[in-house]
């Protein structure tokens, strides 16, 4: 599969870096591929921009930063403005459609995921919108198996958060099935 470059970008506090680490760790430990995750944020604890970069490759990763992203997960207006045009042609864009306008760009695959809204409606918290996005991402891209992400969630988060995070992940997966059909195998064939 060569080298796949993913950017998660939004505001500090939205969990973009956490989402990146969960995905990266799952692929690194269970996916038997090379992964480098790096992050960029400002000095503020909340607000300000926050970005997580995940690079997945069959070969050892030398240069550890994103050059041309294949996949974008966007959760803020500023991030959309900054990265939309950097996405490769035919690249994949997931954006939080409950807080952002539909972006204007052709020659890419755009997926509207109202993550903040469905997290709040179903789980009564916006804090897991990042995990909803992650669920949608793995369903759409088939980059890693959902059960493995659930395993990582249990390894990384304290037990009191397992239930809500695993629910959020599944809500994201279920929502994204409207784009891919009912299973990951189907999305594989569609590619």
């Amino acid at each position: 599969m060569g080298r796949i470059e993913i950017i998660f970008a939004g505001l500090g506090g939205q969990g973009m870096i956490t989402a990146g680490i969960i995905l990266a760790r799952t692929i690194a430990i269970y996916g038997k591929k090379f992964v480098a995750q790096s992050q960029s944020y400002g000095p503020e604890a909340r607000g300000g921009s926050a970005r997580s970069e995940v690079i997945v490759s069959d070969e050892e990763i030398i240069y550890p930063h994103v050059i041309n992203p294949d996949i974008l997960v966007i959760m803020s207006k500023e991030a959309m403005e900054k990265y939309l045009n950097k996405l490769k042609p035919n690249g994949i864009l997931l954006y939080d459609s409950s807080i952002l306008e539909k972006p204007k760009r052709k020659n890419i695959n755009i997926y509207a995921i109202p993550a903040t809204k469905i997290a709040f409606e179903n789980l009564n918290t916006k804090a897991v919108a990042n995990i909803v996005m992650l669920g949608a991402l793995i369903q759409i891209t088939n980059i890693v198996n959902k059960e493995l992400v659930e395993k990582t969630i249990k390894e990384v988060f304290p037990e009191k958060f397992w239930e809500v995070d695993i629910k959020a992940l599944n809500i994201g997966v279920e929502f994204a099935k409207k784009f891919t059909g009912s299973s990951q195998e189907v999305s594989q064939q569609q590619k």
């Binding site: 992964v35 480098a36 790096s38 000095p43 240069y63 550890p64 050059i67």
Partner: protein, 388 residues
Amino acid sequence: MSERKNKEVLSGVHFWQGDTACAEGAIAAGCRFFAGYPITPASEIAEHMAKRLPEVGGIYVQMEDEIASISAVIGASWGGLKSMTATSGPGFSLMQENIGYACMTETPCVIVDVQRAGPSTGQATKAAQGDIMQARWGTHGDHEVIVLSPNSPQEMFDLTVKAFNLSEIYRVPVIILSDEIVGHMWEKVRVPSPEEIEVYNRRKPSHIGEPIFGGVGEVGVPPMPRIGDGFNLLITGSTHNEYGYRKTVDPEVHRRLVTRIVNKIRENADKIIDVETQNIEDADIGVISYGCTSRSVYDAVILAEKEGITVGHVRLRTIWPFPEKVVKEVAERVDFILVPEMNLGQLVYEVERVVGCEARVKAISKIGGGEMITPEEILSEMRKLLGR
């Protein structure tokens, strides 16, 4: 006890960020004391040590500031524990005076500087490589320290183990000069089994009364007792004779002491220095790199090869003492040497000094926003110099 033993070296494959790997490397090397003050992007080292040290019978202290932190680290080392602190630029500046004290009193200790963009508060969350010269010359007076430069979470582990070993062998502060990119990057880290990890401990005196600040020739490292071992210990930053007595006006004692603490590093440089090289036998152009920037160079070497350019690359895992011999070797074979660094030119001057007229030395500088120098930027500089 055996349960504690299992927790000392977490053998296996992990997905860690560089800062975590550094803390684990320290524990695997036998570090049992950490004193620090939180600062981005080094706080995760302190955080991890706070969690882990109590599990292995060690001590973690959050101090009131960085001056106190390095002081406590030096004290703990004389108390017999392998000790470490971790900080970034502003804290590293505050520690400088007592790093000199550690040099003068020949106190083994490890100082981690996860570099961020300075001067002053600068860009607190963004990477830079601006402390190269401060690590070498930050404290006053003639001295030598050892400075290591990891380029991955794996090397944050490996080189932290190495830092403790060098520190114990040479009784000298060792600085791990990391940066925000390497410190915060998450990658796979393989922790070897305890048997695979070589751990050195300081040499102890054979009898009470043995000189512990000299009496070992001109480049030797004297043995070091622990406070409480029964020695009448005199430990001072003032010039002292081999028994620790202050000799603040005697020119000969000063010359002998300071020359030895410098030469014990300089004369052993070949044993200390650790570099990785590519194609230096047959290169069209040379590159000297270190830290996170070296990763861009490894990629640039591959890109250049596709264009028929053979790059002689020297990657410095040891920055100080400066690996003069291998840099000279490259310079004799090429016309141009590039030195990419995330500062406005620091190590490039050392390369120029060593290379002299053998080759033209050129810096590739980039600062701000923690942006790495890209492989493409290095390649384009090569094309320019080689006229392709």
